[in-house]
């Protein structure tokens, strides 16, 4: 007789098992996706799911072994799952204790562009009316540094923030000086169309390690239609600006964002190829913004979600193929979601946070000194709904702004884990509570999920990503890298 025991000896003696908290949602006609508390997923066919739920799954079944190893069930052989699950969950939520890390300063509303999709800019020379004052900026800075976060990122927004560059300089110098005693990890970004960039500005950016984030909507014709300016040369100026900025600041110090418009929807390959040509290592295929025209005509908007999904799928497929051919290129929206699927790290993307990112993920100090809970909140205010206006930098204290019911109520009410339908959704760990969107569309912070385009768009994206990985081992490997980039 062997002195060694067979593996059966280590199986539980009784065939009983305990279900751990998990949720499931159909993935396609035959398969279901199950997610555990920490967001780990497993795909099962319908019969296996049934057996599992009925406590009839045999402990030698490969599905049983996977479910146990990934903390969907517990039996006599192991009791470690609650410890590991809670560790992962704590890790996922640890960002909350940090509170607000991103602080957006709208230094001016003025802009020399007149993009139709922009809700906030003014073609005006009236600096009195549309520029942030140094007093307001200073008060905003004091508020930003009250955040307990060890990492403070100050992003300059507009309008076109370079139109008020002197204020940017003042804020940067003042922030650095305040931070000498605090020692936080301080970073600066300017969101600019780069049309007005010059050597002096770049030299200041270089000396203060300021990152540039620009807008590039695609190839020249598309970009210039999307982003009109006097002279119709937005594309030329942006590309020239990218080149200049890279020379002074370094290649990776300049990033670009695209906005999807009606005209973009049929051009996803062109858009991606433009990013490749301009030497970017990835692209953020952003959904259509609901603020503005789309919000007013809901059926049009619903139609657009389908078209956006088709745009997104085509784009993602194209990018995967590029990678398969050996060209390293990332789609950043997918990589945010994949980080949530495969790690316990919260990527901190405001639209996909629960509790919502408003106020916690980012705060906006508007040109006029008013404080908003997010960039979308101030866009909503431009359309006449100032529901998410927290107060004013000169008249409210930090406590009044960040512990007011105006912020806390939508945070609490929209928390996805306790929202109707979200609570039961397998994709909840990947998704976010977006009270601003749902308020804009449905008039309350929770919204009506069956009608929610936010919901539909994201659920379909999650499904698409998971199915890709189930069907294509290359995509699985690639996505794991994106999750950790």
């Amino acid at each position: 007789m062997s002195q060694f025991q067979a593996i059966e000896r280590y199986q539980p003696t009784r065939p009983t098992y305990q279900l751990l908290p998990f949720r499931f949602t159909p993935l396609d006609e035959h398969q279901y996706v199950l997610t555990n508390l920490a967001g780990e997923y497993i795909v099962l066919d319908r019969p296996s799911l049934h057996e599992f739920l009925a406590h009839r799954l045999a402990n030698a079944d490969p599905a049983y072994i996977d479910l146990r190893a990934r903390h969907f069930l517990m039996d006599e052989s192991t009791a470690i799952a609650p410890t590991l699950l809670s560790l992962k969950l704590r890790t996922r939520y640890q960002r909350l204790a940090e509170f607000t890390g991103l602080h957006l300063f709208v230094v001016t509303l003025r802009c020399e562009h007149s993009c139709p999709y922009c809700q906030v800019s003014r073609r005006s020379q009236d600096t009195q009316r549309y520029d942030m004052t140094p007093e307001a900026a200073n008060a905003a800075l004091a508020l930003a540094f009250r955040s307990p976060s060890k990492h403070i990122k100050i992003e300059f927004q507009g309008g076109e923030p370079l139109l008020n560059f002197p204020l940017i300089q003042t804020i940067v110098l003042e922030a650095e000086s305040r931070n000498q005693a605090l020692g936080k990890d301080l970073a600066f970004v300017i969101a600019t169309n780069l049309a007005l960039i010059n050597d002096d500005i770049l030299s200041f950016c270089h000396d203060h390690a300021i990152l540039l984030s620009t807008s590039l909507d695609g190839p020249k014709d598309l970009h210039n239609v999307n982003r009109p300016r006097p002279g119709g040369d937005s594309y030329e100026r942006t590309v020239r600006g990218i080149t200049l900025a890279r020379e002074v600041l370094g290649h990776d110090r300049v990033s670009a964002l695209m906005t999807t418009t009606e005209a973009s929807l049929s051009r996803v390959h062109d858009i991606i190829n433009e990013y490749v040509v301009q030497g970017f290592k990835g692209i953020f295929l952003r959904p259509l913004s609901p603020y503005g025209f789309a919000l007013k005509t809901r059926s049009y908007h619903a139609y657009n979600t389908e078209r956006w999904l088709s745009f997104y799928r085509q784009g993602l497929d194209h990018i995967i193929e590029r990678n398969r051919q050996g060209h390293d290129f990332t789609e950043y929206y997918a990589s945010i979601i994949l980080k949530k699927m495969f790690t316990s790290e919260d990527p901190g993307y405001v639209d996909l946070m629960s509790p919502a990112g408003i106020g916690i993920g980012a705060a906006v100090y508007n040109y006029d000194g008013s404080v908003y809970a997010s960039d979308e909140s101030r866009m909503l205010a431009e359309m006449g709904k100032d529901t998410f206006k927290l107060g004013h930098v000169l008249t409210h204290t930090y406590e009044e702004l960040f512990t007011s019911p105006t912020l806390l109520d939508p945070l609490e009410e929209s928390f996805a884990y306790s929202s109707p339908m979200c609570h039961d959704c397998a994709f909840e760990p990947y998704c976010g509570a977006d009270p601003v969107y749902h308020y804009a569309m449905h008039g309350d912070f929770v919204g009506r999920k069956p009608e929610s385009e936010f919901c539909r768009r994201n659920m379909e994206t999650f499904r698409y990503l998971i199915l890709k990985m189930e069907n294509d081992p290359f995509a699985k490997r690639l996505f794991l890298q994106w999750a950790n980039r």
Partner: protein
């Protein structure tokens, strides 16, 4: 393969009991050091005052010395200045415990273990061998401070409890600059009190290597032949990392672990991302592996794609991962960045066909035991590029 222990002909036995001695070729050592030294005797040397004399040719020793005299056989001719040996003049037993010119010195602390792994290279014995710990303590005192690294293995060293902590403290005092690797199954650290004692040593360069053979608790428990092992090992790792101790996870790849290797790496990346290193190791054909060879053996060439995928998972998560104990011709080139020459010098060999290989310098080669008993069928020299 170097023979690290054996029996020597005893030409003279004065001391009777076993003792440690540091090997020297210097007959002019200070007189107070000579009683702790074994002289590697050459023609014309004056051996007076040395604890022991190692001679190649017994005719060269005149009778009437006041030392034990051992005849050194050819297989021990590697012994050189600064090596430390244990000598037993009653039995003639000699064990080389420390080789000064090697980076692969491992000190066996015990042969007792609470695991009974299918592929154990050092099969456990249920005997009181605490003399090994006493010997290790003395050995540490003798090892020169400039030693770069040193391993402690077993059996399961933590079975000593507090005495194991004391040994590490002693090691930190004697060898403050030496990197220490400990091999343990980690279960003792499920007790946070014990983990705190370990952390309180505050050793500047200490790594504990702990095996996790599967993400499936049942399979891990089967491989180590112990109920409850998985949970206790994981709790041990969590406690050690909560105290900022450096932990390496070690996975031996064989037929019982390879099937879930990728999932095990995913489990590690997902649950134990904070460990410092993951080692994916080839099988050593010694100890229990030999009776269990049929259940354990899989040709590394057959699992090379699995290995690539497993390494790819760990690399994706930015974990430090290494592949040990494999030959270059049995792995895919995509794991090149993780490939290490890892086999301890004294048991590291190559096949005859490896002489023609252009990559032999970069290749980790074989365990002596693999060369003798079982190795991949796909060993093929790389052509000169």
């Amino acid at each position: 393969m170097l023979k690290l222990s054996g029996r020597l002909p005893v030409l003279q036995n004065l001391n009777g009991a076993p003792y440690l001695a540091t090997v020297t070729k210097d007959e002019h050592l200070a007189p107070n050091l000579k009683p702790t030294r074994a002289l590697l005797m050459s023609e014309g040397m004056n051996p007076i005052g040395f604890k022991a004399i190692l001679v190649k040719d017994h005719r060269r020793v005149s009778p009437g010395q006041d030392s034990d005299v051992f005849q050194l056989e050819e297989e021990f001719e590697y012994l050189s200045e600064g090596d430390i040996v244990q000598l037993d003049p009653s039995s003639g037993s000699m064990r080389c415990l420390y080789r000064r010119n090697s980076d692969h010195n491992t000190i066996l602390l015990t042969e007792q273990c609470d695991h009974y792994c299918l592929m154990c290279s050092q099969p456990p014995k249920r005997i009181d061998d605490s003399w090994l710990l006493t010997e290790a303590t003395e050995l540490i005192s003798r090892i020169p401070q400039e030693t770069t690294c040193l391993g402690f293995s077993g059996g399961e060293p933590t079975l000593y409890g507090r005495a194991f902590i004391d040994l590490l403290t002693h090691t930190k005092t004697c060898l403050p600059m030496t990197a220490i690797d400990v091999l343990s199954n980690g279960r003792a650290f499920k007790d946070i009190g014990f983990a705190r004692q370990y952390a309180a040593i505050q050793h500047p360069d200490l790594l504990i290597g702990i095996p996790v053979y599967s993400d499936d608790p049942v399979r891990h428990n089967y491989v180590v032949q112990s109920q409850g092992a998985f949970d206790e090992t994981i709790r041990g790792i969590l406690n050690l990392k909560s105290l900022n101790q450096r932990v390496e996870i070690r996975i031996v790849i064989h037929r019982q672990t390879v099937g879930r290797l990728v999932k095990t790496c995913e489990f590690i990346a997902r649950n134990l991302l904070f460990v410092d290193h993951v080692a994916l190791m080839g099988l050593e054909i010694t100890g229990f592996t030999r009776p269990n060879l049929e259940a354990l053996w899989i040709d590394p060439y057959e699992y090379k794609d699995v290995l690539s995928e497993a390494v790819g998972v760990l690399n994706s998560y930015g974990m430090h991962a290494s592949v040990y104990n494999h030959q270059l011709c049995t792995v895919n080139s995509d794991i090149g960045g993780n490939y290490r020459k890892s086999i301890s010098d004294w048991k590291n060999e190559y096949l005859d066909e490896c002489r023609a290989c252009s990559k032999v310098q970069d290749c980790g080669g074989f365990f002596s035991s693999s060369k003798r008993h079982k190795h991949s069928q796909y060993i093929k020299p790389f052509a000169t590029p």
